[in-house]
Subunit: 98 residues, 2 copies
């Protein structure tokens, strides 16, 4: 043991980042709207743009909060990150020589 692959690090970073924000207030294992907004702005500023109240953040929050309970659980967070990662991969591939 001891050695950690990039893939294992990626999984650990996803888990660590979610709980860093979900633990701040209310239910420790879900993100409320404030916690989600903070996570998106602080951790994904590069991808979503750095404006403090931009459309991308609002759109993500509304999409994830479709049932209006105001909470995002870990599975919903992972679905979001998966969709973002696929979008990123497509973006990079567009710049590859065919």
């Amino acid at each position: 043991m001891g050695w950690t692959s990039d893939l294992e690090s990626a999984m650990q970073m996803l888990i660590k980042t979610f709980h860093k924000y979900s633990g701040k207030e209310g239910d420790k294992y879900t993100l409320n709207r404030g916690e989600l907004k903070e996570l998106l702005l602080e951790e994904l500023g590069t991808y979503l743009g750095n404006s403090k109240d931009n459309e991308a953040v609002e759109k993500v929050m509304n999409d994830l909060d479709a049932n209006n309970d105001g909470e995002v659980d870990f599975t919903e967070f992972i679905i979001l990150m998966g969709a973002l990662t696929v979008a990123c991969n497509d973006f990079f591939l567009d710049f590859q020589p065919k």
Copy 2:
């Protein structure tokens, strides 16, 4: 720019790891069965166990290759990683004080 958050690193590691194996042979943008097996054993040995031909690896390969085309694309890979990350998170939470 320049500063990269843990979440952005995680996305980059997922993309980098997939292409490290998908580029080895055949279609550069999909994993064939051999490439997938190599990725799982080399990058996820800690989670799947370290035996060279264990059941976990075979099960993942069969699940992902449901359409029998023998290729796993990036979106399918991300769905697998998402499911594994959610399972890991559940596992860690079971050991948290309630």
